[in-house]
């Protein structure tokens, strides 16, 4: 199939970028979106041009590295998927596809389609941890946890930190990410000692990074490759209020 790509090219964070158009005459529909970029980059390198920088790692949909805002949607036209798991069969022969980087002031562009998502790491560093005693490892399952709570915590922990929530949010808000990281610990007994401190510190860090505010549009939940629910945002809203009252 023939695909025309309009790709955002930007040398670095300081110089302004623009779209470049590339035509790929023979794309296999079994290729993933990233494999199509591999083919394109191969050709660019052979021609002596600068290849397109984009993030990727596991290519199995579980690492959260691949980004790309494709035809106006984070990770492309499918819901609940990463870019590496998006295949060209979901496009039509002759399509023109616009590919942009995640756009948020908290995610500065490094080059082309690659953005710096270390703001997420700093939010986690602010409180996304639990304290444990050193020494011998504790027996597994020594603390009984209701199955339902464990499942909810696991659902939150499924967040891979890809940033699609920020990319798709009209306000570039990180509430879905931060709430998943708050919830996965708030739901478990091990997370209780730091529960109040955690939510305050992480929300403070989130605000400092310059993410937007939550309008509850729900777009993040739809575009999240791991199906993280708005339930977690509500839980964080509750916990934040409680932590400010008791502390």
């Amino acid at each position: 199939m023939k695909i025309t790509l309009k790709v955002w090219r930007q040398k670095n964070g300081k110089t302004p970028g623009n779209f470049n158009t590339y035509t790929l005459p023979d794309v296999s529909e079994d290729m993933s979106f990233l494999e199509m970029f591999d083919v394109l980059n191969d050709e660019l390198i052979r021609k002596g041009e600068d290849s397109i920088a984009f993030d990727h790692d596991c290519r199995e949909g579980i690492c959260g590295m691949c980004s790309m805002y494709i035809n106006g949607r984070a990770h492309g036209p499918l819901t609940g998927t990463t870019t590496c798991q998006l295949h060209m069969r979901h496009f039509k022969d002759g399509d023109t596809i616009v590919v942009e980087p995640w756009r948020a002031s908290a995610f500065p562009i490094i080059k082309d389609l690659m953005v710096d998502r270390s703001a997420f790491d700093r939010v986690i560093q602010a409180g996304g941890f639990i304290s444990v005693n050193t020494g011998n490892a504790v027996d597994a399952n020594s603390i009984p946890i209701p199955k339902e709570d464990a499942d909810k915590a696991f659902d939150a922990a499924a967040c891979i930190g890809c940033g699609a929530c920020v990319a798709t949010c009209k306000n570039a808000s990180a509430m879905l990410f931060v709430s998943a990281k708050v919830s996965q610990l708030a739901l478990l007994p091990q997370g209780q000692p730091e529960r109040n401190m955690r939510v305050k510190k992480m929300v403070e860090a989130m605000d400092e990074e310059g993410f937007g505010n939550c309008t509850n549009t729900g777009a993040c939940e739809v575009e999240c490759p791991k199906g993280i629910s708005l339930d977690h945002i509500a839980r964080m809203n509750r916990d934040y209020l409680v932590s400010n009252i008791v502390d």
Partner: protein
């Protein structure tokens, strides 16, 4: 405690609490305002409506609640503009191509625009009735030997003008769409979410606040406008 409170309401989540609390208060105000204004439909030459508007203007409890109401309106407006400005700053360079129709409702993406339309309406609305009642030169009517400001005839005269009625209808659409998202969103901002009750809250927001209340409000100018034709 004072610093804790200021810190709370300076945070993004705290500012959303303020939006939610003020917004939901204004929703309850809408219900009361509507119930009172339904007196316009009584075919009594405005007696019931004039007695009601005199009561609203003079009762000390109502007066106090009215000032709380004005404060919440101002808070909602100022906080709303502040949040919208912050959100713009969070994405200085927008996307060339955006397709959000599959991931969120139009209302939820246009709350600031809808709110601004409502603000314009509010200014016109307050000038026409609130300002006239307080400071204007009102016509006077006599009910059971006592004289009252004749709010009824001021309202009927305003509503009889097609352009004025049209402005009201458009504004009620804006309120409907604003509350279609806003009512349920307020609960989510306050952390009130439950698999059983949230759908009920959403239905209440849709059928009562987004459809029935704006429709009844819009029916008033439409009724008097058509009557005058």
């Amino acid at each position: 405690m004072a610093t804790a409170a200021t810190g709370l309401f300076r945070s993004s989540i705290g500012r959303k609490y303020l939006m939610a609390l003020s917004g939901l208060f204004l929703c309850t105000f809408l219900v009361v305002h509507l119930l009172g204004n339904l007196q316009l439909f009584q075919n009594d030459g405005g007696v019931a409506f004039n007695l009601y508007s005199a009561f609203m203007a003079n009762n000390p409890l109502i007066k106090t609640i009215a000032y709380v109401n004005y404060a919440f309106i101002l808070l909602h407006i100022i906080d709303g503009f502040y949040l919208a400005a912050q959100n713009r700053k969070a994405r200085p360079q927008g996307y060339a191509k955006v397709d959000q129709s599959k991931s969120s409702s139009w209302s939820s993406r246009n709350m600031a625009l809808l709110g601004t339309i409502i603000l314009v309406f509010l200014i016109v609305h307050m000038k026409s009735f609130w300002f006239e009642m307080k400071f204007g030169n009102m016509p006077v009517t006599t009910i059971e030997g006592e004289s009252y400001k004749d709010m009824y005839s001021v309202v009927v005269e305003a509503f009889s003008q097609p352009w004025y009625a049209a402005l009201y209808v458009v504004s009620m659409f804006a309120i409907g769409f604003h509350l279609y998202h806003g009512f349920a969103s307020g609960f989510q901002s306050l952390g009130i979410r439950h698999h059983r009750y949230t759908p009920a809250i959403q239905n209440l927001g849709t059928f009562l606040f987004a459809i029935l209340i704006p429709a009844l409000f819009a029916a008033m100018p439409v009724y008097f406008c058509l009557k005058n034709l």
